[in-house]
Symmetry: C2
Subunit: 475 residues, 2 copies
C-alpha cells in the first residue's frame, strides 16, 4: 500500500505546486491534540498523509524543482533505504555488523576510483572513505582531527585553541563557519576571504597568502582551509592547485567541499575541476545531492584516517570485542562524530549497480545540457543577463531591463522570484554575490527533462512580462 | 521484490546466527574490484545481498539479540522510512517543506506529553522538541548552547573555554566525553565522578557537590552535567531531583540522557525514574532504541530553544525567505548541528498512530516482564548471581561458582560470554562496573517472546555446564 502510494505520488507529482502554498501553523489544527490510545489502520494514516501532509510538502522530487541544490531520489536509492530500514543494523563497529563496515569500505574505494581520486585517499592507498549523513558532519570531523593534531604540536595550553585560524571564502557554505564555531574556533578567527566577480567568485590564492601571512605576523596559527568546488551561491570553483600549494607551505589542513559538483567528476570531461586535489587532506561530496542516493549520504575521503581516529575514537568497555582488540578491522565510530550509524552504503552500492557507471554519467551530462539550453535562452533575451558563467548544471541570471544600478535591479529580481515561485509551477531560489542579487536555476531533479527547463524559462518570461518594472524602478 | 525480500528475511530470521560468524576481510574478494559500467538487474543485486551481505550481518532484529541496547524496527517504522525516502524532502527550514517542520513540532509535543514531561519542555510551554539522528548530536547541540551561554557571561577571552568543566559519572556513555572533546572542553576538565555499587551505580549528589566545589576553588567554571537514566553498563538511574538541585545552585546546565530507558516513561508505573526532570534544561531519548522507529531517531526537548538558536543558527543569503524573515516559523536547522535533515518525524508519527499508546505501553511492559523472568531463573541457579538489581528490561548477571575473587570470576565470565556468542544462538554483550565483569541481557527486539528469553537462559546454562571452570580458576 505504501509502495503504491509512492508510485502514485511520482505519477502525480507534476500536478502539485512545487513550492508548498500553505501558511505557517496550518497543520496544528488539522491533527488531534495528542497521540491516539488505540491503534489506527494504515489506510487512515495514508489518507491523512494525502490530505494533510502532501499540501505542506515542497516537492524536491518535482521535475520543476530548481531551487537550492538538487536532492535526488531514485528507485535504487529508495529501495536501498528500505533495505537499510528493514535490516536496521547499527554499524558502529565491525563486529556489530561486519557487512555494513566492509561494504562501505569497498564502495568508497569504488566511488573514489570513479572520481579518479589520488590513490592516497583510498583504502588501497592507506587512506580511506567513510559515509556520514551530511557535509556538516564531514567538516566537523575533519576540523576536529586537524585541530587536535595542531594542538598536539603547539601544546594544548589554555591559549592554544584561541590561536587557531581557519580560512574560507565569502562563497563558502555557512556549514563551515558553524562547524568552526562548534569545535571552539574563536569567531574572530574565522577568516572569510572575499571572492570577486573577476575570479568568477573563486577564492584567490594571493588573497589567501596575504591573510595567512598577516595572521602569522600576529602570532596566530593557521589551521584549516575549506576550499569549495561548486559553491552554493554560484557553483564557483576554488582553484585547488595553487590553494593547496599555499596551504602546504603553512601546514594547513585542506578540505575540499564538493558537496554538489563532486558527483560530476565521475565524468572524465569534468574531472579537471578537482585537479590539484592531490595536495588536499580530505575531500567530500554529497551523494544525496546529485548522485541519486536520497538523503542522507555524504562521502568523505581522507588521506590520514589515523588523524580522525586520534580525535574521535572511543573505547568503552561495553563496546570492546576481540576483532577490535586485534586491530585488523575498521570501527567506523572512530572515524566520525556520531557513534550509531545507519547502513548507508547499501543505497550507494545499489545506485552504482542498478544504474551502472555509463548511465550515471549520462544522467549528469543530460542535466548539464539542460542548463546549457537554459543559459542560451537567457542570453538571447535582452532583458536578462547571465551573471556568472554557467558551471555544471546551474545557471545564475537576472533581469537587467530598466534598472539603472544594482540596488534597483536587486529589488526587481527579488520581486520577479517571488512571482515565479508564487505561480507554483517552478521553484527557484536566489543568491547574492558581489552585491548582485541573482536567480539560480539548479537542474538536477531525477525526473527533470528538457521540456521542464523550457517551461521554467516560459514562467520566468511570463512573470517578467507581467511585472511593473517601471513601478519598482521609479520608487 | 524488495518488500518480499524483507518479509522473507523476517520469516527466516530465527535461522540465522545472531552474531555474524564471518572473518575480517571476508567481503572484499567476493565483490568486483570496481563499479560496473552497465546497469545490473535488481534480481542480481538481491541475490548478492542474500549470498554475500546477509552472512556478514549481525542481526539486530533477531528475537535472540540481547546485546548492547535494542535498536527496534517495526512495520510502521520501516514504512515511515520508506515514505521519508520516497518524498525525500530536506527540511532545514520551514519553507523547504512546511509539513516536515510542523509535523515534527506536533509529534514532539505528543511524545513529550506521553512522557509527562513538564510543560516548559513543550512547544505549548515555550520550550520544544527536535528530532536528531543520535544522542551524540543531542549532546553536542546542548553542550554548545550551554558553552556559548556561559562564555557570553564570563567573557569569550582566550582562557574562557579552557576554564569550563563538565560532569558525568564513570557510567555515563562515552558519547558525552567525545562531545565534550569536540566542542573544545579541555580533556582534563571532563570530571568523571565514580559511581559505586552502594548507589547501584547511580551518580551520588554528594560526590557531585564535592567535585564542583573543588573546581570552583581552583577558579574553574562548572558548565554542564550529563545525568543518565538507564546507563549503558547496568541501566542505572542517576537521581535527578538532588542532582538538579546541586546544578541549579552552581548554574550548571543539566542534560538528562535517557537514550534507552526514556521510552519506558510512557508507562505511568515507570515514570518516577525521571522525577526531578523539571529541574533539568534538556532531555533526550532514542526512539530507535526501544520505541520501534528504526535507526535513526533521537528526540531532544529543551526548555530554552533560544539557547540552541543563539549557538547554532545560520542565515546565509541563499537560504533567506519571507517566512523565516517574518519570524513566525521554526527553522530546525537552527536547533541542531547539521543543516540538512531527513523527514524523521513521519516514522515516529506512524509508530504512535499505527500501534496506539496502549499497545506501545504493553509492548514495553512485556519486555520488562521477560527480563523479570530471566532474572528469576538466574537467581534460582546457585552458580550465578544478579550483579545489580534489574532495571527496565535489562539483567546484569555473572557466574560466581568456584571463583575466589573478582579477577578470576571476570576471566570465567569473559570465557562464558565468548562461548555463548560463539553458539550463534543468542547474542549478549558485557559490562564492567565496580571492577566486576558481567553479562548483560537487554530484552527489547521487536520479535522477542518469552520463549526466546527462556532459550537464552538454556544457552547460558549449557555453556556454563560445558565450561572447564576449574581449569580457568586454577591458572
Ligand atoms: C557547497 C556546499 N557545502 C555544504 C553544504 C551543506 O551540506 P549538508 O547539508 O550536507 O551539510 C551544501 C548544501 O547545499 C553545499 O552546497
Ligand atoms: C545511555 C546512552 N547514551 C547515549 C548512547 C549513544 O547513543 P547514540 O548512538 O544515539 O549517540 C547510548 C547508546 O547505547 C546510551 O546507551
Amino acid at each position: 500500500m505504501v509502495i503504491d502510494f509512492i508510485a502514485d505520488y511520482y505519477n502525480n507529482i507534476e500536478h502539485y505546486p512545487v513550492l508548498s502554498q500553505v501558511k505557517p501553523g496550518y497543520l496544528r489544527h488539522l491533527l488531534p491534540r495528542s497521540a491516539p490510545l488505540a491503534a489506527e489502520p494504515i489506510e487512515e494514516i495514508i489518507k491523512d498523509i494525502e490530505t494533510h501532509i502532501i499540501p505542506g510538502i515542497t516537492h524536491w522530487q518535482h521535475p520543476a524543482h530548481f531551487a537550492y541544490f538538487p536532492c535526488t531520489a531514485s528507485t535504487a536509492g529508495i529501495l536501498g533505504e528500505l533495505l537499510t530500514a528493514g535490516l536496521n543494523v547499527v554499524g558502529f563497529s565491525w563486529v556489530a555488523s561486519p557487512a555494513a563496515t566492509e561494504l562501505e569500505a569497498i564502495v568508497m574505494d569504488w566511488l573514489g576510483e570513479l572520481l579518479n581520486l589520488p590513490k592516497p585517499f583510498l583504502f588501497s592507498g592507506n587512506g580511506g572513505g567513510v559515509i556520514m549523513g551530511t557535509t556538516c558532519e564531514a567538516l566537523l570531523a575533519t576540523l576536529v582531527a586537524a585541530r587536535d593534531r595542531k594542538l598536539a604540536e603547539i601544546g594544548e595550553g589554555e591559549i592554544g585553541i584561541g590561536k587557531l585560524v581557519v580560512y574560507c571564502s565569502d562563497q563558502t557554505h555557512c556549514a563551515f563557519a558553524k562547524a568552526a564555531k562548534i569545535v571552539g574556533i574563536k569567531q574572530g578567527n574565522v577568516r572569510v576571504v572575499p571572492a570577486s566577480k573577476t575570479t568568477s567568485f573563486g577564492l584567490c590564492p594571493d588573497e589567501l597568502v596575504r591573510a595567512v601571512r598577516s595572521d602569522r605576523d600576529r602570532g596566530l596559527v593557521p589551521l584549516f582551509l575549506c576550499a569549495t568546488v561548486g559553491t552554493t551561491p554560484t557553483a564557483a570553483v576554488d582553484p585547488l592547485l595553487p590553494l593547496c600549494r599555499v596551504a602546504r607551505e603553512h601546514d594547513i589542513w585542506v578540505h575540499v567541499d564538493a558537496a554538489y559538483a563532486g558527483a560530476a567528476c565521475v565524468c572524465p570531461e569534468f574531472r579537471h575541476v578537482i585537479d590539484g586535489v592531490e595536495g588536499a587532506d580530505s575531500f567530500s561530496l554529497n551523494a544525496h545531492k546529485w548522485f541519486l542516493t536520497t538523503l542522507d549520504c555524504c562521502c568523505l575521503w581522507v588521506k590520514d584516517p589515523s588523524a580522525l581516529r586520534k580525535s574521535l575514537s572511543t573505547n568503552p568497555e561495553y563496546l570492546r570485542n576481540q576483532a577490535s582488540d586485534e586491530g585488523g578491522v575498521i570501527d567506523y565510530k572512530d572515524w566520525q562524530v556520531t557513534l550509531s550509524r545507519r547502513f548507508r552504503c547499501l543505497k550507494l552500492w545499489m545506485v552504482l549497480r542498478s544504474n551502472g557507471v555509463a548511465n550515471l554519467r549520462n544522467f549528469l551530462r543530460s542535466h548539464v545540457r539542460m542548463a546549457e539550453a537554459f543559459e542560451k535562452l537567457v542570453a538571447e533575451d535582452a532583458r536578462f543577463e547571465i551573471v556568472v558563467p554557467r558551471r555544471f548544471s546551474m545557471v545564475c541570471f537576472r533581469m537587467v531591463a530598466g534598472a539603472r544600478h544594482d540596488g534597483v535591479a536587486n529589488l526587481v529580481n527579488k520581486k520577479l522570484l517571488e512571482s515565479i515561485n508564487g505561480s507554483g509551477r517552478v521553484f527557484m531560489t536566489h543568491a547574492v554575490a558581489g552585491g548582485i542579487y541573482m536567480l539560480r536555476l539548479a537542474v538536477g531533479a531525477t525526473l527533470t527533462e528538457a521540456r521542464h527547463v523550457a517551461e521554467a524559462w516560459k514562467v520566468v518570461r511570463e512573470q517578467a512580462d507581467a511585472m511593473d518594472v517601471e513601478g519598482i524602478v521609479g520608487c
